[in-house]
């Protein structure tokens, strides 16, 4: 471990923090704090990307880091906070499965993710090869969060956390995607967020609540 260069250690540290934050989000009941955690996760992602950019000196990684900062640390949390305020979303978010169980499942998922990513990580030539497993774990934890939460807004946060995981994977495994793709992805995320915002208002108008258990009417009988 000591032979690992500093950059790699830093990136691994960031990745570990991201994973930790993912767990924290899984355990967090309050929406506002959830959004904050998400912003923090984005920030760690930004840091990781930045470290990577300095190490490799690739320009597009700098752009990517900037994009992450603007989008995930500032813009999206801001929109989310606005939504939470405007829609008067109450704090408590009671999950479908209780928190300890969720955490246990999350642990299992991390094991699975690490195992799945193991053979790939060994192939990786980049400095941050260990982080691919973490990225996959983050994606899976976000997925789990989406499954276990009741509120529409927490699902969205979960969705965005998933994107964080994907970005981490892209950065750690491949030094980031081509710029045009990254831009496209960012645009999609942004537009998606805006549409979601529109959507939240529509949903609130219709159901007087953002609780998704109202939206279980379409089913096979």
């Amino acid at each position: 471990m000591t032979s690992m260069p500093l950059y790699a250690q830093l990136i691994n540290l960031c990745a570990a923090v991201i994973l930790l934050l993912a767990f924290a989000m899984l355990a967090q009941r309050r929406v506002v704090q959830l959004v904050d955690l998400f912003a923090l996760q984005g920030f760690m992602l930004f840091l990781a990307t930045l470290v990577m950019a300095f190490k490799t000196g690739q320009h597009h990684l700098f752009y990517s880091a900037g994009l992450t900062l603007v989008l995930k640390v500032i813009l999206l949390p801001w929109i989310l906070h606005r939504l939470v305020r405007q829609l008067h979303i109450k704090g408590e978010v009671e999950p479908l499965i209780n928190i300890p169980t969720t955490m246990l499942i999350g642990l299992v998922l991390v094991v699975i993710a690490f195992n799945v990513a193991m053979p790939i990580s060994q192939l990786s030539s980049t400095i941050a090869r260990g982080t691919l497993g973490i990225a996959l774990a983050v994606v899976m934890l976000a997925f789990l969060m989406m499954i276990t939460r009741r509120k529409a807004i927490t699902q969205v946060v979960g969705f965005l956390a998933m994107e964080n995981g994907l970005f981490l994977a892209a950065t750690s495994a491949t030094y980031g995607m081509p710029m045009v793709v990254e831009l496209g992805i960012a645009l999609d995320v942004l537009v998606g967020m805006i549409i979601l915002g529109v959507f939240f208002f529509q949903i609130r108008d219709q159901f007087d609540s953002l609780d998704i258990h109202h939206m279980e009417q379409l089913k096979e009988r």
Binding site: L96, L109, I112, V116, M140, F143, L144, M146, I147, T148, R149, Q155, I212, H213, M215, E216, Q217, L218, K219, E220, R221
Partner: protein, 669 residues
């Protein structure tokens, strides 16, 4: 200029039919144009088809390849002797039916006449294409177009619930059957991927795969023909359809299934195992007995005929089974005898069953009644229909001197040879099967006597029957044509059997023509005159001579005086039409003797009833034993599956998640 081959003529006829059908769309609501102009043209095309088939029968096989079809598999067509037999059947019988239909269709509810004409003529064209098809794709396309067009014809009067139900069952069974046929073709290609029939012939299948192919074909074609247990559509669809369509379906379409079965089992598969024949024989016997038992207890005239069709299909399957048994032991001369019986019965049944269905059509038009309980005495107002129907009844009951008897006679002759089979069980069991055939034939007589007696004889059960009118001239022409066919086939069977020789020779290498030709045109002795012979001409002449001579003698020696008086009423003055036996009453002995065969719901009146009502409803056991359980099973599975879609998005997400994780854990290249 190259000379026009028979197959080209047939293609032209098929196009002609299609064109005639499309022409009807020009004026879909113009009944006169469609019925009086287009249908006779269709009949002419039918004559052309029949005549072409007659010319082609006995010649060399002709092939053609069309530009349409799949890129790798264009439509291959082939006209050989087996196909030619059925082409004749299609042409001649459809000509009669079309002419009848020209007089039959009139303004009414339901599908517009132009659309009806399109469906009708597409039906004819697709049947022709089925007979000509020489690859799996062409066959399946024609086969399903045939099913579709007849489905639309069946549902002409789709405003009625039961007709829609009939159509649904019909199309569903047809589709399931088609799937089996397609599978059978697939098996027969033997993995070579050559879906032309020539390719299938070239394959040398192992006994196992050959058996699979045969059984699939038996099921698939059986579904179209109405073999047990996939017969359920038949008694529903036939009564639902307009009568010319019922006639066409029963008379011609069912025969295409027989054609298909013969094509597969004797031509395409290549090998024949003895037990195939036993399976076909057993299925045929069960079907025949079932059909005839149910025919006797029906109260709807078209249902009765539909069940009678099931019975006849059963007899045909018996014949095919016998052919296969003989063929598997290389007793080709006997196989040829059985096959001739099959082919002849196809022709005979096509003639008389169409005739009977058309007669019900006239009755239906004249009385608006299908229920036997409200008919009676129609021989008075409708003598033409009644007397022509009599020909159909006699032929249908398998009695000399008409066509039905000849095939039955040939079949029994074939049965008489079965003790010669070199198999210790078969040579004892198979002859006994003849007894069941005999029982079937006799019961058919019962059913048809009921049919005829209740509709045409006795007193009119409803007052409005007095206003019934006889068939119109075009209808009469169609009826006379078919009755003539029945008579001709019955009286001069030798001529037709000599023609059929080409088909049996093609499939089995043997035929009956030499023997038949030795005896002259009047005597039918397929093996030798010492062994068995039948001369329907002599037969007819004797009876006719006795009739005329006896009448003459009686009138000369005595007198011809007639007095009229009321029927003897046994001293009871209220012998109205209601005192006659009803349709239900007529079949009461059958219901009583063979009770367990039927699923009956009866309601007996008690003495205290103000308005005593007796009802009896006979249903098919197969619904309750086979079809409803399957439907329930499918319903149960889908209810189970429907739970998956519970509406909760978290659960949906979990499905994807679990799928993903499972794949990640399990799937390895």
């Amino acid at each position: 200029m190259p000379s026009l081959l028979a197959i080209d003529l047939l293609l032209i006829a098929a196009c002609l039919w299609a064109t005639i059908g499309l022409a009807g769309l020009a004026a879909p609501r113009n009944t006169f144009f469609v019925a009086r102009v287009l249908f006779p043209l269709g009949a002419l095309a039918g004559l052309l088809v029949g005549a072409t088939g007659f010319v082609a029968l006995g010649g060399a096989a002709q092939t053609a390849e069309l530009l349409i079809g799949l890129p790798d598999l264009p439509f291959h067509l082939r006209l050989d002797n087996l196909a030619a037999v059925f082409v004749i059947l299609l042409g001649i019988v459809s000509a009669g039916i079309s002419i009848y239909a020209a007089g039959y269709f009139r303004v009414g509810e339901g599908t517009a006449p132009g659309v009806l004409g399109l469906e009708y003529h597409l039906f004819l064209a697709s049947m022709l294409m089925v007979l000509l098809a020489d690859d799996a794709y062409a066959f399946m396309v024609s086969w399903e177009v045939m099913a579709l067009s007849s489905f639309f014809l069946v549902t002409t009067n789709h405003r009625h619930d039961e007709i829609r139900r009939a159509g649904y069952i019909y199309l569903l069974v047809a589709h399931v059957g088609a799937i089996a046929i397609l599978l059978s073709f697939g098996v027969m290609t033997g993995g070579a991927g050559d879906y032309t029939f020539a390719g299938m012939r070239a394959q040398d299948l192992s006994p196992f795969w050959g058996s699979v192919a045969f059984l699939l074909a038996l099921f698939g074609f059986g579904a179209k023909a109405g073999l047990l247990p996939v017969h359920v559509w038949l008694p529903e669809a036939h009564p639902a359809a307009p009568s010319p369509v019922s006639a066409l379906m029963s008379g011609v379409m069912l025969k295409t299934a027989i054609y298909g079965l013969l094509r597969v089992s004797l031509d395409l598969v290549g090998t024949t195992l003895w037990w195939w024949g036993v399976v076909a024989l057993a299925a045929g016997l069960l079907t025949a007995l079932f059909g005839v038992f149910y025919a006797t207890v029906q109260s709807d005239m078209k249902r009765l005929l539909a069940y009678s069709s099931i019975e006849n299909i059963g007899l045909l399957a018996v014949g095919i089974g016998l052919t296969l048994i003989f063929h598997s032991y290389r007793m080709e001369a006997l196989a040829a005898l059985a096959l001739t019986a099959v082919l002849f019965h196809c022709l005979a049944h096509a003639g008389f069953k169409s005739l009977l269905f058309l007669c019900t059509g006239s009755v239906l038009h004249a009385t608006k009644q299908r229920s036997l309980g409200k008919l009676g005495g129609l021989i008075g107002p409708m003598p033409w229909v009644a007397w022509l129907a009599l020909a159909g009844v006699i032929a249908g009951a398998g009695l000399p001197p008409l066509s039905g008897f000849v095939s039955e006679w040939l079949l029994l002759q074939a049965f008489l040879f079965s003790p010669g089979l070199p198999h210790s069980w078969l040579n004892m069991i198979v002859p006994v099967a003849a007894a069941a055939v005999a029982l079937t034939a006799a019961m058919a007589g019962f059913a048809l006597v009921k049919f005829y007696g209740i509709i045409f004889l006795g007193q009119m059960r409803e007052p409005n029957l007095k206003d019934a009118h006889d068939a119109c001239p075009l209808e009469k022409l169609g009826l006379v044509w078919l009755a003539g066919l029945t008579l001709l086939l019955g009286v001069l069977p030798g001529t037709m059997i000599m023609k059929l020789d080409a088909a049996t020779r093609q499939l089995l290498g043997k035929g009956l023509a030499d023997r038949v030709a030795e005896q002259g045109w009047w005597l039918l002795a397929p093996i030798s005159p010492e062994r068995a012979s039948y001369a329907p001409v002599l037969f007819l002449i004797t009876i006719a001579a006795t009739l005329l001579f006896g009448r003459w003698i009686v009138r000369t020696l005595y007198h011809g005086r007639v007095r009229h008086s009321p029927a003897w009423d046994c001293g009871y003055h209220f012998q109205g039409p209601r005192a006659q036996d009803t349709a239900e009453g007529f079949s009461q002995p059958i219901r009583r003797i063979f009770g367990p065969m039927f699923r009956m719901q009866r309601h007996f009146p008690s003495i205290r009833d103000r308005a005593p009502i007796y009802t009896v409803k006979v249903e098919d056991h197969f619904w309750y034993w086979l079809y409803l359980p399957i439907a329930r099973l499918a319903g149960g599975i889908s209810a189970l599956i429907a739970r998956v879609q519970g509406g909760r998005i978290a659960v949906y997400l979990m499905y994807s998640f679990v799928t993903l994780i499972l794949l990640l854990l399990v799937a390895r290249p």
